[in-house]
């Protein structure tokens, strides 16, 4: 590469004519881009053609991936950082249900799932899933129901396990009935059982590995398409192809097609862009659609747009005055101009969020209903509400937020703050800002030590947690942390929703109804609009799982290839 670089450098001779030509071209391009910038529209995704149109799969090559944050460790049940995205590449899930396309089930370690009643789940373990060759002392045997049992037992008993909330609250019992049958029983019918079973942090590692947590922390091999290879804390991770992976591609050849995956930690955006354009990494997530549009080169890249499952929210502490008064909460809601956030922060490439965010598709309330009934910007009404609540001269509130942080749902927190302050001022509410470092903000937020907050939120791939924000048990489910809203009617309605296990349509309807109920109580947690991610991929990456829009479930797929 270096030789080519110097060769190109010396070949560049700049004459007077070429200089003038370049200057004229530059001026023309600047004028044209200026004109276009005034009329730009969010680009549509240009997904790659379906597998059949991309030619026969090719074997070999290494996928080059990146992460902005470091890997803390490789324990599939405990890790909270970048590695969680790679557990589905190494281990197996029993079955994963896409929340974006709830009809899509990916059967992995379980080949079938029976549900004889609302609380019983019988997983029939697939024969022939063998542990990848390894030097960890784990025998290359077939995984069985005992492995599923050992993993869920660990998840249940390990206080740091990320899926422990499900196992503690809902998992009443579980057992390996025989080598091929694993049975789970929940204490109550629970709508998101399969979702929790299919999480990346609920994957099934060989039970011998669980007996050695120190080894599990830095290495791993299971029945997934890859094994963990080199892991250097702070630098990156490599995964190597599992030659005995059980699944085959459409051409009947064993998967995965690529020899491995290298993951680098690249925190800086400019560095990521440089690495992408020089093919050191195979994809790049643009800051927003405008950057994606500027970089887009159809001869080299394709664009995959995916909804972002996190969002910013305005949170009011309903346990404290003045937010204990529903009229004040409604005044805040009426002062927020959601369209302005869409246009300024997200450059038009975003949608309004109701209680359940738009990324969750059918589970979210229709946009038209939200805009016409619940997300109405009406500062006059806000002032009237404040006056009725005893604040005829308006109100002064304190609002904390994590400063110098990327925002959930796109943009940057610093872009949200001035708009929000201006919005609230239009409704008669003056904001006293409390910018905090992330750790301090999180600590105070969790302890409810604040009046109001502009808040980051995690990725919510189901409607459960967004609804839990409005219950007395709160999003952590413990009734202590975070929760700021207590209403028995909402609690009962959300409980009913959680018990719907038989029909997706019924679940959708019930989630809509409970959102309407929450809005009727003037909620203290108001989600702001969120955007889509705009990821450019080199077009030699074929059959990209990202094109399917399956969310986390796509991480289990291993049938992409590199046409290098």
């Amino acid at each position: 590469m270096a030789g080519e670089y110097w060769q190109r450098f010396w070949q560049r001779r700049l004459g007077r004519r070429s200089f003038l030509r370049a200057a004229a071209f530059g001026a023309g391009a600047a004028a044209l881009s200026g004109t276009l910038a005034c009329r730009e529209q969010a680009p549509q995704a240009t997904p790659p053609p379906a597998a059949g149109e991309e030619g026969p799969p090719k074997r070999g090559g290494r996928s080059q991936a990146w992460s902005t944050v470091t890997f803390d460790q490789l324990d599939p049940h405990i890790s909270v950082a970048a590695s969680t995205a790679y557990f589905p590449r190494v281990y197996n899930t029993l079955v994963s249900q896409s929340q974006q396309k709830p009809d899509f089930f990916y059967y992995d370690l379980a080949e079938t799932l029976e549900q004889p009643d609302a609380v019983t789940y019988i997983f029939r373990i697939r024969p022939g899933i063998r542990v990848a060759p390894n030097n960890l002392g784990v025998p290359e045997r077939e995984l069985d129901a005992q492995d599923a049992y050992a993993n869920w037992e660990r998840i249940k008993n390990e206080p740091r396990a990320l899926a422990s909330r499900f196992s503690k609250q809902f998992l009443a019992s579980h057992a390996a009935q025989d080598a091929r049958t694993y049975v789970m029983k929940t204490s109550d019918p629970y709508a998101w059982t399969i979702y929790n079973v299919g999480l990346a942090v609920s994957t099934i590692a060989p039970r011998e590995l669980l007996a050695n947590p120190d080894r599990l922390r830095t290495a791993g091999a299971g029945g997934g398409p890859f094994s963990f290879g080199r892991f250097v804390e702070g630098e990156g991770l490599s995964l190597e192809r599992n030659p005995t992976y059980y699944r085959k591609g459409k051409d009947d050849r064993p998967l995965p097609y690529v020899d491995g995956i290298d993951v680098r930690i690249i925190p800086d955006r400019a560095a990521r862009l440089a690495a992408f354009q020089t093919r050191q990494i195979h994809y790049y997530t643009a800051a927003n659609f405008r950057e994606a549009q500027q970089l887009m080169d159809p001869n080299n890249y394709y664009l995959i747009k995916e909804p972002i499952f996190s969002f910013m929210a305005v949170t009011m502490n309903a346990e404290r005055a003045p937010f204990s008064d529903p009229r004040v909460r409604r005044a805040v809601a009426r002062s927020i101009n959601h369209e302005q956030f869409i246009n300024v922060v997200h450059l038009g490439d975003a949608k309004v969020n109701g209680i359940v965010h738009w990324a969750l598709g059918d589970f979210a309330l229709p946009e038209s209903e939200l805009k016409s009934r619940y997300l109405v910007y009406n500062p006059q009404e806000a002032r009237q509400l404040l006056s009725a609540a005893g604040y005829p001269q308006g109100l002064r509130i304190k609002m904390m937020y994590p400063a110098n942080t990327g925002a959930s749902g796109g943009g940057d927190v610093s872009q949200y703050v001035p708009i929000l302050i201006e919005n609230l001022r239009s409704g008669g509410i003056e904001v006293e800002q409390e910018p905090l470092d992330f750790g301090t903000w999180l600590d105070r937020y969790r302890r409810r030590d604040y009046d109001s907050s502009l808040s980051l939120n995690q990725v919510y791939e189901t409607a459960e947690v967004p609804l839990d924000w409005h219950t007395s048990w709160g999003p952590a489910g413990d009734g202590v942390s975070w929760n700021i809203f207590r209403d028995p009617e909402i609690d009962a309605a959300v409980r009913r929703v959680k018990q719907i296990t038989q029909s997706v349509q019924e679940l959708v309807r019930a989630i809509h109804d409970v959102q309407r109920l929450i809005y009727s109580k003037d909620p203290s947690f108001i989600p702001l609009p969120s955007s889509s991610s705009n990821t450019l991929w080199w077009n030699f990456v074929k059959n990209n799982p990202g094109r399917l829009g399956l969310g986390v479930t796509a991480l289990f797929l291993a049938d992409w290839w590199l046409d290098l």
Binding site: P159, L162, S164, G234, R264, A275, T278, G439
Partner: protein, 315 residues
Amino acid sequence: MQAFIVRRLLAGVVILFFLSIAVFLVLRVAPGDPALLRLGPQATAEQVAAERERLGLNDPLIVQYSRWMKGVLTGDLGISNFSGESIARSIRNRLPNTLELLVMTLVLTTAIGITAGVISAVWRDTPLDYAVRVLAVLGLSVPALWLATLVLLVPLQVWGYAPPIGRVVHFFDDPWANLRQFLPAAVVLALGPAAAIMRLTRSSLLEVLRQDYIRTARAKGLGERLVIARHALRNAMIPPLTVLALQFSALLGGSVIIEQIFTLPGIGQYFFQAIFVKDFPVVQTLTLYTGVVVVLTILALDVAYAWLDPRIRYR
């Protein structure tokens, strides 16, 4: 001289003791819960309490401090709260990257700064002097963050070139790739200090060149090159040496921004990540490590002064 060194080392131990107490207390007084940051926002109160217990954060402060100090004094730097990885091993993994960056930066700083300073002083008030001084002002005023981004993006836009990013190539595996990776970062780090050294070298050399012994050297017929190289430059080196030494100690603690941008996993990046997640053992240990480096560097500097200028004597 030996007594001086021993005295300074003892004083250094006292300084480090107070530094250890200060960093230990500041971390615990500052708001923010490391257990919560470790577990993430979805953690329940019960999980956070269990994690605090596991990390020993519920123990009395004196117990926590004693545990840490005992570890440091016995060579056990402890375990990162965030990754569970041995801190000593993480430092060992990252130190070579930081050291390589440091060596390159110091070589560039010295070469550019002193050469430009001498040129500027010898050809004082000529166009060459003005040009060098303008460049020095630029070097001092351009922020490293912005310059680093330019160093990445301009070659990318013009030649489609970028250095290897995100994976460290070791010098002995592939020297050329290693230089392509570290050199741009070293250049960015070196420009500011090189400009400072250039200005110090220039003013210091001009002052020395006005001294009587320089006139004597010229009067006895020594060539100008010899006068400058042998008689003037050595005595003019004390102020630039101070800047170099301070840069050395700062760089040995890692360069947070440059390591982040050029994705060089060094001590600075480790420090930055640890502060962000309130990884107490890592922040404490790295602060103490930086303190040791500064104390030893300043001691070495004082010794070097005496070597450079025979008039300086320590008692």
